[in-house]
């Protein structure tokens, strides 16, 4: 036969307004998943400062000799940006966990008719938990 026309991905990105709950849930789950695995790598990298610290490596922190692990963590936590990123991380993790619970239920065949409602519930709950945790996460940063 003759040629045909491949419309490519136009409908994937241009039609986001028409996405249904399940599609948004998938997009958010994937995005938060990428963030979390990225964080896991940086997390281990930062915590690795415990290895030289255990061997006695020190650094100057706030005018006194501190081990490199404690010094690194506490100085990072002193930055407002890090604190804000941590709140973001909490939001990402909480959503991934709540929506993950939703997906586990879907895998077990429970509540498939309410899958859109359970997505909205996980969004709202994520918001609530994040807002409620802000004081704890920001405490002492100023």
């Amino acid at each position: 036969m003759s040629q045909s026309y491949n419309r490519g991905l136009i409908e994937d990105f241009s039609r986001w307004r028409e996405f249904e709950a399940g599609m948004w849930a998938w997009i958010f789950h994937k995005f938060t998943g990428w963030v979390l695995i990225g964080y896991l790598f940086t997390h281990i990298a930062v915590l690795s400062t415990a290895i030289p610290a255990a061997n006695g490596a020190t650094m100057m922190f706030q005018g006194s000799e501190t081990d490199v692990f404690t010094g690194t963590i506490v100085s990072l936590e002193g930055l407002l940006l890090v604190r804000i990123l941590e709140v973001g991380l909490l939001a990402v993790a909480v959503f991934h966990m709540l929506n993950g619970t939703r997906l586990l239920l879907v895998d077990l065949g429970i509540g498939l008719e309410a899958q859109d409602k359970s997505f909205y519930a996980s969004l709202i709950l994520t918001g609530a938990i994040t807002v409620a945790s802000v004081p704890t996460f920001i405490a002492g940063a100023f």
């Binding site: 994937k30 998943g33 990428w34 979390l36 695995i37 896991l40 790598f41 281990i44 990298a45 915590l47 690795s48 415990a50 290895i51 610290a53 255990a54 061997n55 081990d67 692990f69 404690t70 963590i73 506490v74 936590e77 002193g78 941590e86 909490l90 993790a93 966990m97 993950g100 619970t101 997906l103 586990l104 895998d107 945790s133 704890t136 996460f137 405490a139 002492g140 940063a141």
Partner: protein
């Protein structure tokens, strides 16, 4: 039929493992966040406190298991996302082994760190 036993096709086994690790991580990640942000505050971390926790065998093994399952769940998730997008052939093999290598590095470094805190394997 009789000779079929535990013969998971790769797809099915990974699918199940992804769910099992998910259920485990759900509990442990919640615990981890709660312990290190709400019980102890992140800005009050010290090497001594971390060491004290890690010297307990139960905490040490939980954290190592946490690392292993999280690495599997995350890396397998990334791999699946790429397969879903139609990754095939040589590219797929390359990506697969790159991810495996990254996981090994992560696990190695993570366990080294845990051992540094605990002062060797806590027995």
């Amino acid at each position: 039929m009789a000779e079929r036993y535990s013969s998971f096709k790769s797809g099915g086994r990974m699918w199940l493992l992804q769910r099992v690790t998910a259920a485990f991580l759900l509990v442990v990640l919640a615990f981890h966040f709660f312990l290190l942000h709400f019980v102890h505050h992140a800005d009050e971390v010290t090497l001594a406190a971390s060491s004290a926790r890690m010297e307990q065998l139960s905490y040490y093994s939980l954290m190592v298991l946490f690392l292993v399952t999280a690495t599997f769940h995350g890396v397998n998730g990334v791999y699946n996302a790429l397969i879903n997008q139609g990754l095939t052939g040589t590219k797929r093999t390359v990506v697969k082994w790159t991810l495996v290598a990254a996981s090994v590095v992560l696990l190695f470094q993570g366990i080294r760190t845990a051992n540094a805190w605990a002062g060797g394997f806590p027995l």
